[in-house]
């Protein structure tokens, strides 16, 4: 999955998202989403570049700690 590949670029990720969007909603919609897909790709890249420590589990409800 490109979202977890640290070598991916924001452009690579945006293309993957656009392909997925085209499958869901068609080519025109995917093209219209250009800016939001680029922004989403940057966020995914940001996450991918900051891997959590191996022993960190997700805490979906922070108050539970």
């Amino acid at each position: 999955m490109p979202a977890t590949n640290p070598d991916s670029s924001a452009e690579d990720l945006a293309q993957v998202l656009a392909a997925h969007a085209a499958l869901l909603w068609g080519q025109q919609k995917a093209a219209d989403m250009g800016q939001s897909l680029t922004q989403a790709a940057r966020m995914l890249l940001d996450i991918g570049q900051h891997p959590p420590a191996p022993d960190t589990e997700p805490a979906c409800y922070p108050a539970a700690e």
Binding site: A40, L44, D46, A59, P62, E65
Partner: protein, 452 residues
């Protein structure tokens, strides 16, 4: 029109209890004020006048019989239109929920009623508490955004249409509009106030927010609503402090950690200078103010918040969205679509990073009583197509830490300026005591000039 509209929660409750103030006359004064002001400000969605006055008469009779034990007996409160109210529309200002009438009250609404509060009405929210601007206007200048998503709640409190209102915060929706409108905003620790019966945007981020005109009033509302709720999967079992007792025990000025990294770097020169001046004023009054660096995990905090928010919004709205996508506003629609495209692995990595960030912030906060920063990079923008920038709230929401915004001055354009304090999880008493000390030291009592 009387001046009772200027009373805060503490004063109004005290006067009702002593018999100086009639809940009926207070409710009538606020309803009259809404009649006069709301056509321009557009803060309210639904008001059931008959129900308000019937409840006010009940509260008045109870007070006359010496049966006014609640913290907020006879005090009217506004609710952002995402809080379930039994028998009253809860639209989330959306086409999807336009005709939704809940069969029960949200837990926090029920608790407010138990405390004696009168539900005054439902206040305007941005659609589904997201980022499509609402019609509400900033009372300090109608051409400026009031912020969002708790836009109506903030405007109503700032103009004296009600002494308190509930908002919510998933990114920056309580403290940002509080700052833009010159009032106090409290976002408690995630899990401190039940979310049961609140239309969700993002389950693991949504936090009930409090909008008032003083720090003491924030403590009163928090006291009324805090506590475990088995109906909310994210609700904490931690015991609830006596917040005003904790505040009264403050012994001397606080230690404050000033965040220049990111927060001052991203601010306008006016906000930078103002925040430095506030820090200096607090230091001159005895506070120990030291610059505190942000942890490395701050770098991904904004992305984590956005990814989690988008994915959880997509999950909640999936069924309606698949059938009625065109009935959603453009920004929440985009957020839902982005959430639908986000890989599951990225969502879980964001949740793991949130946990690390929260743990790092606990260490960052260890040497100080609270962190100090501006509430927003600028005063309310002159732009009604935006709700402003949540960039100074999103990290704290993501970490689940409590924050409070307090008014700190008026800027060059005549708009309120505000500073934000962040504290340790579940240490709202400590945070509010610091905020109250700052409030008293700064002595900034703001009221929109055209609505005094």
């Amino acid at each position: 029109m009387t001046t009772s509209y200027r009373l805060g929660v503490a004063d109004a409750a005290r006067q009702v209890k002593s018999g100086e103030l009639s809940p009926v006359s207070l409710a009538q004064a606020l309803l009259e004020r809404i009649d006069v002001l709301d056509p321009a400000l557009q803060a309210w969605v639904t008001i059931d006048r008959e129900d308000v006055l019937t409840t006010a008469r009940q509260r008045e009779e109870e007070a006359q019989q010496g049966q006014a034990p609640g913290l907020m007996h006879g005090v009217p409160v506004g609710l952002k239109d995402i809080f379930y109210t039994e028998g009253m529309k809860t639209t989330a200002c959306s086409r999807i929920y336009a005709d939704f009438v809940p069969e029960y009250d949200a837990t926090c609404v029920a608790k407010l009623k138990q405390a004696g509060a009168i539900i005054l009405g439902k206040a305007v929210t941005t659609e589904f508490a997201s980022s499509d601007p609402s019609p509400s206007r900033n009372a300090w200048n109608l051409e400026h955004t009031p912020g969002g998503s708790s836009s109506g709640s903030s405007v109503a409190v700032s103009t004296g249409m009600c002494p308190a209102a509930l908002g919510s915060q998933t990114g920056g929706s309580t403290c940002r509009p509080a700052g833009y409108n010159g009032i106090v905003g409290l976002k408690p620790t995630y899990g401190r106030i039940s979310r049961y019966g609140v239309v969700p945007l993002s389950w693991s981020l949504d936090t009930v927010g409090i909008l008032v005109r003083s720090v003491e009033d924030a403590a009163i509302l928090l006291q009324a609503m805090a506590g475990h709720d088995p109906k909310d999967a994210g609700s904490s079992r931690r015991l609830v402090d006596d917040y005003r007792a904790v505040m009264s025990r403050r012994n001397g000025p606080p230690r404050l950690g000033l965040l220049r990294d990111f927060f001052l770097e991203r601010s306008t020169p006016e906000v930078q200078a103002h925040t430095e001046a506030v820090a200096q004023q607090l230091a001159q009054a005895g506070a120990v103010v030291e610059e505190i660096p942000l942890p490395a995990s701050f770098a991904a905090a904004h992305s984590c918040q956005r990814i989690v928010s988008n994915v959880e919004a997509a999950a909640f709205h999936q069924e309606n969205f698949n059938q009625r996508a065109d009935e959603y506003g453009p920004r929440i629609r985009s957020n839902i679509e982005t959430g639908m495209l986000t890989p599951a692995v990225s969502y879980l990595q964001a949740q793991r990073l949130r946990r690390e960030f929260r743990q790092d912030l606990v260490e960052t906060l260890a040497p100080v009583d609270a962190l100090l920063m501006p509430t927003s990079p600028s005063p309310a923008p002159r732009d009604l197509t935006t709700t402003g920038d949540a960039v100074f709230q999103a990290p704290w929401t993501s970490a689940g830490l409590p924050t409070v915004a307090i008014p700190s001055g008026v800027g060059e354009a005549g708009l309120p300026l505000s500073v934000q304090l962040a504290g340790l999880p579940f240490q709202e008493g400590q945070l509010l005591s610091v905020a109250q000390w700052c409030e008293q030291t700064l002595n900034t009592n703001l009221w929109p000039p055209d609505y005094e």
